[in-house]
């Protein structure tokens, strides 16, 4: 990094939840951020005048209800730990959007990017999508319109994708290990957004053993050009750290240097910690690298003690594969408008059927989601969702920045749908940021 790198005011929200675990030997357990805390303290990072630590706020159930439809309700599916971790993201956003900080890093747990719009329980260690809770908060409190989420966790950010699938104003880019080789088994390049929002979801599935070179190639040749064109007001990095070469549950070769370079180039306004389970060998170094990069401090000496770039070098085959993949996704992005016309045709509605397994809680959900084809907004969405535990609900979602026609139709449907076979009927008005339940 050049010595002229500009120092930035960075807000750090550190909440390691030292008294919370999914179970005693689960990767998502108490000491996950212990050694990260040690490294941050030992480096004396908080003594820099332009880095300030803030205590996280506690999110409210209304904050959760703006992003999720919880069954039976938010109070039953979230715990205090989720409210604090989502609250930490909100605190991060507040620092940036009020101008107290140039950027912010929410180093909080538990994570959230596998939590989808409808929440019947926990999946992939997540109950609540902390980024989505933060995004809806930013829309309501600060009127932010265009947002990009760049998810660099090794697992596909399927929850965030689900919540913003039909939203043309929230660009979700996920770069992850190929779903054929890793949980949750989704995130292929052809998952490209709903018909009203085609191109606002971009998936970049990378082959196992991709190293720094591959990640940075994707960043330079795909992610940054797309962001330039999309022009978001706010860039969020779902900063999962399980792409690290030492991570026990994945198979990638990203390093602390790679993460820091990525962060410097991407320059997110807000970074949110997601996964990352190499708690001794990766997290302390990766997190320090990210913080220094965000704050504009020289990170060139942040290296894992066993870091050996030559041993981690990706094969020529992988490089070629990634070049082709990037070219094809770039091509798809450039043709998104033509593709959209073809896809929509003369249809009035589009239907998507999903079968969702909550691996952490062992629940199976069948979902049918219908979107109204609309050229004026993200389109009205209705959801019929049933679980094998016997909960069936119906939800009407009025999109953010919605058009009058979608609003009218949504309010009508909510009015006339009878409870009957449903446990509850929801009206989530994302434009007015309220949730009604009957």
């Amino acid at each position: 990094m050049p010595m002229t790198a500009k120092r930035k005011k960075t807000a750090l929200i550190f909440f390691p939840a030292f008294d919370w675990a999914i179970s005693p030997t689960h990767p998502e357990r108490e000491e996950r951020l212990l050694y990260t805390q040690d490294q941050i303290c030992e480096e004396g990072i908080l003594d820099f005048d332009h880095i300030t630590e803030y205590k996280p706020g506690i999110a409210t159930l209304e904050d959760i209800d703006r992003a999720h439809i919880c069954v039976p309700d938010a109070a039953s599916v979230v715990t205090q730990s989720h409210l604090i971790s989502a609250g930490g993201c909100i605190t991060a956003a507040d620092q940036v959007l009020t101008g107290r900080a140039d950027n912010a890093f929410a180093l909080v747990r538990p994570p959230g990017h596998h939590a989808m719009r409808v929440v019947h329980g926990a999946r992939g260690f997540c109950n609540v999508n902390i980024e989505a809770v933060m995004i809806e908060y930013c829309r309501k409190k600060y009127g932010v319109r265009k947002i990009a989420v760049v998810d660099t966790d090794c697992h596909h950010g399927d929850g965030t994708q689900d919540i913003y699938w039909h939203d043309p104003n929230v660009l979700c880019i996920s770069v992850h290990q190929d779903g054929r080789t890793l949980y949750p088994g989704t995130g292929f390049a052809d998952e490209f957004g709903g018909p009203n929002a085609l191109g606002a979801t971009i998936n970049i599935p990378l082959p196992p053993r991709t190293s720094d070179e591959g990640f940075l190639y994707v960043l330079d040749h795909l992610i940054l050009p797309v962001l330039d064109e999309f022009k978001p007001e706010l860039i969020i990095n779902s900063a999962g750290q399980d792409n690290h070469y030492s991570d026990p549950i994945t198979d990638m070769r990203f390093s602390a240097q790679g993460y820091a370079i990525l962060n410097e180039k991407l320059a997110p306004h807000i970074a949110v910690l997601e996964g990352g389970y190499s708690i001794e060998d990766a997290l302390p170094y990766v997190n320090v690298g990210i913080i220094l990069a965000m704050a504009g401090i020289d990170y060139s000496c942040v290296k894992e003690p066993d870091f050996d770039p030559s041993a981690l070098k990706q094969s020529a085959d992988i490089s070629r594969y990634i070049e082709k993949l990037v070219a094809s996704i770039k091509n798809q992005w450039e043709k998104r408008d033509v593709m959209k016309e073809k896809l929509i045709g003369s249809a009035k509605h589009a239907v998507r059927k999903k079968s969702i397994y909550y691996d952490t809680d062992g629940i199976r959900e069948e979902q049918e989601e219908t979107v109204r084809i609309c050229r004026d907004c993200g389109g009205l969405v209705t959801i019929d969702s049933a679980t094998d535990t016997g909960n069936r609900i119906f939800a009407v979602v009025i999109p953010a920045l919605c058009c009058p026609a979608c609003r009218r139709e949504g309010e009508e449907i909510y009015q006339k749908t009878a409870k009957g076979k449903y446990r509850s009927i929801y009206l989530q008005d994302k434009d007015k940021a309220v949730l009604f339940v009957k």
């Binding site: 909440f15 030292f18 004396g44 003594d47 996280p56 506690i58 205090q80 401090i297 942040v302």
Partner: protein, 555 residues
């Protein structure tokens, strides 16, 4: 009897305490170049006609190390830093001959890269050539394993007078602060050692055989002999002395604010449940952030002699002091002059005060009386705002567990203690602004020397247990023990209490004064491939700052 002396920046105060009460007190001007002279003359004044054999303890608080550091009158130091991966060496700000060397210990105390003994030897020879006699050796994570620091000392030691080791300075993590602390310690080591020897000679010459203690920044004491190797611990003991003095003069156990108001500044400190709050990591001195345990204080540039000016923004008070108040012949109007006009105090020449404030009143287009009121109320309002801000900052400190987050213990002062010159005149106004009762203790002007006299010995111990590696390590003592794989948290805490008791008694503590507190006790499972392989326990125990029981009993 107890003799307490505070050698401060401006004055040296001495008190002779008997049965918990001030029997005699003395105040002399401090001669910055001859601290021992100031100390001995103040001591002589209170000891005159007394039997030195009746003294049970002598406690000194001295500004020697503080002055040396702030004024840069220190020895040149050579620093050996094994910084490993992390921050770039270019981001460290340290004076002297700084060498970054190979070697690295990781966060679990495992040696990842060895030091190069030849490299250290070469640097030792270069120190010798440059005439450097004092050095510091600091490694990243040396508080988890001091092996490399010890090896550096072993190699360099024979060629130098003194080597300060990072892990002996504090058990806390923070490598840049550890380096700064060791560097400062080495830089004042020589000066302080001579002073401590001179003091001991002086004390013996007076026929005093009682033990001699030195006050530390945290308001606790240690043996003068122990202080010789850790002179940096004696910095900023002046404000600590005043706070301990206030504690001895009042009996409250509630949350409280202590204000020490002088001519130039007002120092703010906070008591939580009657115990002074400490800086979370360490005190800052001369622009250096350190790991020295010290009281949380804030100094505000507002005092009785602060210069009062009018600008486009209105009335400005402080932060500078141009001299004494106009009522005493000073060059400009001050809050003291305003207080004289308002009849809050009857010191000085009222006519001179009226003249000075009169000049301000013309600019403000107010009566002299109203101007005085404005000045006085604005000063109190500004001090109150600083107090509220400091309390707010304490309450906004991050916590790291859900339990603490939900418990949300907040500091809420119920009492305001005021000491210093203008304490009485400002008491009613400040109490009203802060919404709490006010207390101005007797002998408030000698609170510093009383505080030194009655402070108890404090100490802190950090224990790091790793049951996978079967080791227990105590960085402050440089002590490593083996433990069984089955060792429990309770056993670690018990071991810690016993070691802390021994250490504190060794430092001169009365066994009755060992009010110990477990400050931190964290326990984590260590897991490899989904199997628990051991426990990682971190425990910190302290002897709380407080007053000696002798004083409580005598009272």
């Amino acid at each position: 009897m107890i003799l307490g002396i505070d050698v401060g920046g401006t004055h040296t105060d001495a008190v002779l305490m008997e049965e918990g009460r001030v029997r005699k007190k003395a105040k002399v001007l401090t001669d910055a170049d001859r601290l021992l002279t100031s100390l001995s003359s103040a001591a002589a004044m209170v000891l005159d006609g007394e039997d030195p054999q009746k003294l049970r303890r002598v406690v000194l608080s001295t500004t020697l190390s503080t002055n040396a550091i702030v004024q840069g009158k220190v020895d040149k130091v050579g620093m050996i830093l094994a910084s490993g991966p992390g921050l770039s060496p270019a981001d460290f700000r340290l004076e002297g001959a700084v060498h970054f060397v190979s070697g690295y210990v990781n966060h679990r105390g495992i040696e990842v890269a060895p030091i190069d003994r030849e490299e250290i030897g070469r640097i030792a020879r270069s120190f010798e050539r440059e005439g450097i006699e004092h050095a510091g050796a600091v490694g990243k994570f040396s508080t988890r394993n001091p092996k490399q620091e010890l090896a550096v000392k072993e190699i360099m030691g024979p060629r130098l007078k003194h080597v300060s080791l990072g892990h002996r300075m504090s058990g806390n993590l923070n490598f840049p602060r550890r380096a700064a602390t060791a560097c400062l310690n080495a830089s004042v080591w020589g000066t302080y050692k001579r002073f401590a020897e001179d003091v001991q000679v002086f004390i013996r010459e007076q026929g005093i055989t009682a033990p001699v203690y030195i006050l530390k920044a945290d308001g606790g004491t240690f043996n003068i002999a122990d202080s010789a190797d850790f002179p940096v611990q004696t910095i900023l003991s002046g404000p600590a002395a005043s706070i301990m003095g206030v504690m001895s003069m009042v009996s409250g156990r509630e949350d409280a604010v202590v204000l020490d108001m002088g001519g130039t500044t007002t120092d703010i400190a906070v008591l939580a449940g009657g115990v002074p709050l400490l800086e979370p990591l360490g005190v800052v001195i001369g622009g250096y952030k350190t790991l020295i345990r010290g009281m949380l204080t804030r100094s505000v540039g507002l005092g009785g002699d602060s210069a009062v000016k009018t600008t486009d923004d209105g009335l400005v008070i402080g932060p500078r002091r141009e001299g004494v108040a106009a009522a005493f012949g000073g060059p400009c109007p001050t809050p003291t002059d305003a207080m004289i006009i308002l009849g809050l105090t009857d010191i000085g020449d009222r006519r001179k005060a009226l003249n000075a404030i009169g000049a301000v009143s013309q600019k403000l287009n107010l009566s002299v009386e109203d101007t005085a009121k404005r000045i006085f109320e604005q000063m109190c309002a500004e001090i109150a705002a600083h107090v509220r801000q400091m309390i707010d900052e304490v309450n906004r400190r991050p916590v790291y567990t859900i339990h603490e987050m939900l418990e949300d213990a907040r500091l809420a002062p119920r009492m305001l203690y005021l000491v210093g010159g203008p304490a009485k005149p400002v008491s009613q106004c400040l109490g009203g602004l802060l919404g709490c009762p006010v207390c101005v203790p007797d002998h408030a002007e000698a609170a510093n020397a009383v505080g030194a006299a009655l402070a108890r010995t404090t100490s802190e111990i950090t224990l790091l247990a790793d049951t996978e590696r079967k080791t227990l390590f105590i960085p402050e003592r440089g002590m490593q023990k083996s433990i069984p794989a089955t060792c429990s948290m309770q056993e670690v805490v018990e071991t810690g209490r016993e070691l802390l008791r021994q250490a504190a008694v060794g430092m001169g503590a009365d066994p009755e004064d060992l009010e110990m507190e477990v400050v931190e006790a964290q326990e984590f499972n260590m897991i490899k491939q989904f199997y628990t392989t051991g426990k990682n326990m971190r425990v910190k125990i302290q002897v709380k700052p407080g007053l000696i029981s002798l004083c409580r009993k005598e009272r």
